[in-house]
């Protein structure tokens, strides 16, 4: 499993989260969740659950017949005058895009928001070749200018205040602007409009690919998706192979779920449907179908459902862990609960092994997920992969951990040793005990006591039970009589 990505140290990341990040994350989440609850209630809980179930089963069918649908997409896109490329990994995808750019003498690229392009770090690859890349989604435009990574799948700049952004614009764009969202947006509109009209190539991702007709679906609010994919003479769409839906009805099901789950809107401002080359559109349409680890997710039955994700962000909005640490703590493209299961699979457990543990398994995410991904089940499965290893990857944790677990299990699983251990705890706690509490325990258990005291060990129950049984011998006799 080759990866140049450094190991993600989730704990270290969580210890350096600025307080305003948690506050901004929570504010974003609360708004989204409140609105989501409203639109779900308006649709009717039963209808909503029915949609989720249909979406899940549709995705399961598609993923388990993915080869069929990939072939269909290719056939249809080609028939519509598009060019289809296949990329086994990020390196190949970037190479393909660079080749197109060189051939077309591209100097400027405008980019619509695409999580996949973050995965590829394609901006970096293009800029190395002297090609200027303009992120055009407002949030992405802002984080690009700030030299940061996005912190949320649908709201990339949620970690920045309007004051931060005004300061950023002052510094980078040399404009004197108030921290007013309207004015800041107006500046971005004007600057980027010029870039849209001058760009040589537009790069987009894709929310879905409708296999029936080979149609790329883009779900946006700002209009930049439409601009990137219509104004420049070349359009390159990079889409993960899991984004396929079989037909138009399936696309409609997901579109009913997506905006509602993401922000609580019934629908986004623009839904664009592009099939190959079209009247008045770009001269060239390229579709890059990307693997980059997705087939490894596919190969394990227990993790396959990870690929259902439609990138709505509902799971992270509802996740209490995410709400306290923000997106950057997850150390890779995809944050939150989906990130906790996707990153260790795309980048390997050597890199992402800390992430399946970044959860209390509370289950709120799987309830919120519009396509019913069983995130807690997959987290558990990946924890096993990290510590014990499985068919896909060997264990990451050191051997002594497995030995320690086996020993602990032996002790806890053998009644006499279990009870002996319990009695030992009651004895050993004596110097540390203060009444009903143990305010401090030595490391690593100090990790508990640094937040709150541990209750004192008490072993009265079995003794109490036995005494009762003995004391109630009269009761026993009555039983026999009956």
């Amino acid at each position: 499993m080759k990866s140049a990505h450094p190991r993600i140290d989730f704990r270290a990341n969580t210890r350096s989260v600025p307080p305003k990040i948690a506050a901004a994350t929570q504010k974003n989440a609360q708004t989204a969740l409140r609105k989501r609850a409203e639109v779900v209630a308006a649709m009717g809980e039963e209808n909503w659950q029915s949609l989720r179930a249909i979406a899940h089963d549709m995705r399961m069918h598609t993923i388990t017949h993915l080869d069929r649908y990939l072939a269909l997409v290719e056939e249809k896109v080609k028939a519509a005058g598009g060019i289809v490329h296949w990329a086994r990994d990020a390196e190949e995808a970037n190479r393909i895009v660079l080749e197109i750019a060189r051939r077309r003498n591209v100097k400027k690229v405008v980019k619509a928001k695409s999580m996949v392009s973050e995965e590829l770090e394609i901006n970096h690859a293009l800029e190395k070749e002297g090609i200027r890349v303009f992120e055009t989604d407002l949030g992405e435009y802002i984080v690009q200018m700030a030299g940061q990574r996005p912190s949320h799948v649908t709201n990339p700049a949620l970690h920045m205040t309007k004051e931060d952004i005004a300061e950023l614009f002052r510094e980078k764009l040399h404009v004197d602007v108030q921290p007013d969202p309207k004015m800041l947006t107006e500046i971005a509109r004007e600057r980027l409009r010029a870039e849209f009209l001058a760009a040589d190539m537009g790069i987009s991702g894709g929310n879905f690919l409708v296999a029936e007709t080979g149609t790329l679906v883009l779900v946006t609010n700002e209009g930049n998706g439409r601009m990137c994919t219509s104004l420049p003479p070349v359009h390159v769409a990079i889409v993960g192979i899991e984004k396929i839906v079989p037909d138009w009805e399936s696309a409609a099901v997901l579109l009913k779920l997506l905006a509602r789950s993401a922000t609580g809107a019934k629908i986004t401002a623009y839904n664009t449907f592009i099939t190959g080359r079209w009247e008045g559109g770009p001269e060239e349409f390229h579709l890059v179908l990307l693997d980059n680890g997705r087939t490894r997710v596919l190969a394990d039955e227990a993790t396959r459902e990870t690929l259902f994700c439609i990138r709505c962000g509902a799971c992270m909005n509802i996740c209490p862990v995410f709400n306290h640490v923000g997106g950057h703590a997850y150390g890779a493209t995809y944050p939150g609960p989906i990130g906790a299961i996707l990153t260790p699979q795309l980048l390997g457990t050597g890199v992402g092994g800390a992430l399946p543990f970044a959860s209390t398994l509370c289950g709120a995410c799987s309830e919120a997920c519009p396509v019913k991904i069983p995130i807690p089940d997959i987290l558990l499965h990946l924890r096993r992969r990290v510590l014990e290893g499985d068919r896909i990857e060997g264990p990451v944790g050191p051997a002594w951990m497995r030995v320690a677990a086996k020993t602990m299990r032996f002790v806890l699983g053998t009644k006499t040793l279990y009870l002996l251990g319990a009695r030992l705890n009651r004895v050993l706690q004596t110097p540390l005990r203060r009444g009903d509490w143990i305010p401090w325990m030595p490391p690593p258990l100090s990790r508990w006591t640094m937040a709150r005291p541990f209750p004192a060990f008490r072993g009265d129950f079995r003794k109490w039970w036995r005494n009762r049984a003995a004391g109630d011998s009269s009761l026993q006799e009555k039983k026999h009589e009956r």
């Binding site: 017949h65 947006t185 009913k256 401002a269």
Partner: protein
């Protein structure tokens, strides 16, 4: 060229190997038809709903009953928004309503609805005709073609959509049944918007700032 073929082969191989555990005929497609439970309704009510939903998205919406209402409505729009240049769709309804004549009478410079770039960007107003209307979400369906280029509803800062009540459709899948075979079409639901800055809703990011839907009866 052979590089790409190799990647294609690799990916297909990985996919089929990865799915080796899937038994044949397992995981059939569910009945997606069950997802479209929204009943259609009385035309008047559907139009009412449509207009209300468009307003919720931050757009404006009204009925236009005949030329008697169209002329003053356009005049008001031109005046209020200081429209100097406009481009209009070549679709039938525009001609039937004599929109170009009205605009000419209001001293609005009419541009050709063509080109991918500066021409339409310089227009204040773009007028298009809806191919379908989805009341539940306040959505208009705009099919792209020579008569009605995509950029017409994107580049000018005001997007005015004219629609006939006969364009009403029950739900999303009907819109797709209509336009799914096209090379390009767009569902538009209100003006361009974002909440990327502190979750504060701002209208008019890259696309039109103003969106108006007039249902012409």
């Amino acid at each position: 060229m052979s590089d790409k073929r190799t990647d294609r082969e690799i990916i297909f191989k990985r996919v089929s190997e990865g799915l080796a555990d899937v038994a044949p005929r397992s995981f059939p497609m569910p009945d997606t038809g069950k997802a479209f439970f929204r009943p259609g309704g009385d035309r008047e009510k559907e139009v009412d709903l449509l207009l209300a939903e468009v307003v919720k998205t931050g757009g404006a919406a009204r009925r236009i009953r005949g030329r008697g209402e169209l002329v003053p409505a356009l005049a008001e729009l031109v005046k209020q928004e200081q429209v100097k240049k406009a481009a209009v769709s070549g679709c039938g309804m525009i001609g039937d309503l004599q929109v170009c004549g009205i605009l000419g009478g209001l001293n609005v410079e009419l541009r050709q609805a063509e080109g991918r770039g500066h021409n339409l960007s310089e227009c204040d107003l773009g007028i298009v005709v809806a191919d379908a209307l989805l009341p539940e979400t306040g959505t208009v369906v705009l099919r792209t073609g020579r008569e009605q280029p995509q950029a017409l509803s994107l580049l000018p800062r005001i997007c005015l959509v004219l629609a006939a009540p006969s364009a009403l459709r029950r739900d999303l899948h009907e819109a797709f049944a209509l336009a799914g075979g096209d090379r390009h079409f767009v569902l538009v639901s209100g003006p361009s918007r974002t909440a990327d800055i502190e979750k504060i809703l701002t209208l008019g990011v890259h696309g039109p700032k103003l969106f108006s839907l007039w249902v012409c009866e």
